[in-house]
């Protein structure tokens, strides 16, 4: 899609995505070129931008105490841009960020999962599942955690919402389980282990996301290798675990 469909589709339709910053940088640049020659679009975009800006009202959060002093002190030493000058935007500081894009990671996992599930004509279940997953990812308190496999190969990613009392689980780059065996997902808590289900087969190295509900305090999620029919109790060792924030 993208490049080829761009000219054929009505750029107006992208006004909403633009106002939500939901265009990637190439699409954004194209839309802005279109805007510069379309007063009606500028008018509409302006109204939609005002609406999207009000979405920020629901996430107002008091910043940590030290921020005010740091910002005011930095401003005192920072030269302001003048109207005529238009220096290029400063490059992002070259530092490594530990956090991954929850959306990017899960979109990739879902792309593989979605194709596989649709092929099985489980469209309705798939859509219900997508909505459940979207509810967790979109929850205001969604938090992402990653656990590395004990072997060093592969990892598991969890996006959890306390409010939704659910999490979304996916893995990447785990080695294939031994023949006649599969990976099984568990919730392990202070009062024992509860089986969640067998992990679906990986596509392109990524397992389709599973939605996990019924979380209890002190739970962690864990994956073990079990006979293909599943087990009632996990067989050690655990392949990968992710502790959940309480």
């Amino acid at each position: 899609m993208g490049r080829f469909s761009w000219r054929r589709t009505d750029p107006h339709m992208l006004a909403g995505a633009y106002a939500l910053d939901a265009l990637d940088s190439a699409d954004r640049a194209r839309f802005e070129r279109h805007l510069s020659g379309c007063p009606a679009c500028r008018q509409e975009t302006r109204g939609l931008r005002e609406a999207s800006a009000l979405l920020a009202a629901t996430s107002v959060t008091t910043p940590p105490d030290g921020l005010r002093d740091r910002v005011l002190a930095a401003a005192a030493h920072t030269r302001q841009n003048q109207p005529a000058s238009s220096p290029p935007r400063p490059a992002w500081p070259r530092r490594r960020w530990g956090i991954a894009a929850a959306c990017g990671v899960l979109a990739v996992a879902l792309a593989f999962g979605g194709i596989a599930y649709n092929a099985q004509h489980q469209l309705h279940q798939m859509q219900a599942r997508s909505h459940a997953i979207a509810a967790v990812l979109g929850a205001p308190d969604a938090t992402m955690m990653t656990g590395r496999a004990a072997s060093g190969t592969g990892r598991a990613t969890v996006v959890m919402s306390h409010r939704a009392r659910a999490l979304v689980f996916t893995t990447a780059a785990l080695p294939a389980p031994p023949s006649a065996h599969r990976y099984e997902l568990w919730l392990m808590g202070p009062s024992g282990s509860r089986p969640v289900g067998m992990l679906p087969a990986a596509h392109g190295g990524t397992t389709p996301p599973m939605i996990v509900t019924g979380l209890r305090a002190g739970d962690q999620v864990a994956v073990t290798v079990e006979p293909a029919s599943g087990s009632r109790q996990p067989t050690m060792p655990m392949i990968v675990t992710v502790a959940l924030p309480s």
């Binding site: 109204g47 009000l54 009202a57 629901t58 107002v60 302001q80 960020w97 979109g138 955690m145 990653t146």
Partner: protein
């Protein structure tokens, strides 16, 4: 500088005023003063917008330490670029929020490296209370929630995933398993409905 009536209703709703009833008490006028190097005005702008800026960064980036860094960059950008705020293109708060949201989503998209559990432990999740600075801000949030609730499920999910999570419309299409064209339309329809419900022009 005179208020453009189309943006003052929005502006009125955000945060506390520096000097109620006095010239310079609205955010747009404060930015004009900031553009002239007025550091007291900048401190007032900080009070008005820091909760919005930090809240957006926290929502999109998820990590309080990273959110704080992005918030600091955005707040300094407001100081540096106050002169670029153009009231004919929208309200002052919409400009500030756009700077914050863009920087947060650009950052989260640029960073595709995997998070490790160790790093999560190094930056433990701190639970910041969501404290609306004023009664007005709380009312705004309530109004937005009510209006969001009036959208269809697909409109609501598309807007929520894009705005609060920084997803592109293509990613939203994958997440919700609907065609990209549908997501584009739902984002636009949904925002138009939201705009009308919220009474912004």
């Amino acid at each position: 500088m005179t208020d453009n009536p189309s943006w003052s209703p929005d502006d009125r709703g955000h945060g506390r005023r520096a000097a109620p009833g006095q010239p310079g008490d609205d955010l747009g006028s404060l930015l004009t003063l900031v553009a002239r190097g007025d550091d007291a005005a900048f401190a007032a702008v900080y009070t008005r917008v820091s909760g919005h800026v930090f809240g957006i960064a926290r929502s999109v980036l998820r990590d309080p330490a990273h959110a704080e860094e992005v918030a600091q960059e955005v707040l300094l950008q407001i100081w540096r670029d106050a002169v670029r705020f153009d009231p004919s293109r929208g309200s002052a708060m919409a400009w500030v929020v756009m700077l914050a949201h863009r920087r947060a989503v650009d950052r989260v998209r640029a960073e595709q490296a995997a998070t490790t559990r160790e790093q999560r432990v190094a930056h433990p999740e701190v639970s910041y209370d969501v404290v609306a600075e004023t009664v007005q801000a709380r009312l705004d949030a309530e109004r937005v929630r009510r209006c969001l609730g009036s959208l269809t499920q697909l409109q609501q999910e598309s807007i929520t995933l894009a705005y609060y999570r920084g997803c592109t419309y293509r990613e939203v299409a994958v997440l919700l398993d609907v065609p990209v064209g549908t997501v584009k339309t739902r984002m636009r329809d949904g925002l138009i409905r939201l705009r009308d419900c919220l009474g912004v022009e």
